[in-house]
Symmetry: C2
Subunit: 132 residues, 2 copies
């Protein structure tokens, strides 16, 4: 694997992600980092997000809504996706990692390495809006 050199753009992307808890898409990262680097290109944003995800510094969330989301919080936690507004919210369900008991197990000859789980439903904001 190639060595990694510092880049101001990558640093800005990493820093921006750390300030956010709403799991932005590449496009949102691009728009925001452009305040500091008006000439940054979307390609650079994608390259760096992929690089950071490959190195485990951030995680890439594929929620099946078209665009990937990115999260600087790599600690184990679940995500909740609002089916009304699309918002992605962290869920603190630390006691429930029951799917993980299968990690490392052999099922029908298939070796389970891990799992992906997310929850969906209606977020609190959308529920309040529905009340009115």
């Amino acid at each position: 694997m190639p060595a990694i050199k510092y880049s101001r753009q990558r640093e800005a992307i990493r820093n921006f992600l750390m300030t956010r808890r709403d799991h932005p898409t590449a496009d949102v990262v691009y728009s925001s980092v452009r305040d500091e680097f008006p000439n940054i290109s979307l390609g650079t944003v994608y390259r760096n997000l992929t690089l950071l995800a490959d190195r485990g510094e951030i995680s890439r969330l594929r929620l099946g809504d078209g665009a990937d989301h990115f999260d600087a919080d790599t600690s184990p936690h679940y995500h909740f996706v609002c089916t009304d507004c699309g918002k992605v919210i962290d869920l603190d369900l630390d006691s429930i990692r029951s799917m993980d008991v299968l990690n490392g197990q052999d099922v029908d000859g298939n070796l389970i390495a891990g799992n992906v789980t997310y929850f969906y439903g209606t977020c609190s904001a959308c529920r309040q809006e529905a009340d009115s």
Copy 2:
């Protein structure tokens, strides 16, 4: 909602899916149904897959690998995705639906309707290949 009229193309798509257990993508469905309907268009395949999924006759799997996969087996079961070859395999883990206990619950004001879970790892075929 509009009424549904019969179409031979939709029937062929449904029938094809029922013969497969490997969760094909729209493109695979397209290629295969073209044996019977050489002029069928990819747009028609997508329209019908979406229609069938919306009606609950098939399920759409968003595994985050770029293309959606489709499954005529709508009974509750888990999926295993091979990180080597991309194959999608049914997992029979009938006793483990522990995530579902959260369905209907309120977490921080967010109403959980359901969840999506899949497992990943190395499938038996790829493991054997790695042995050689």
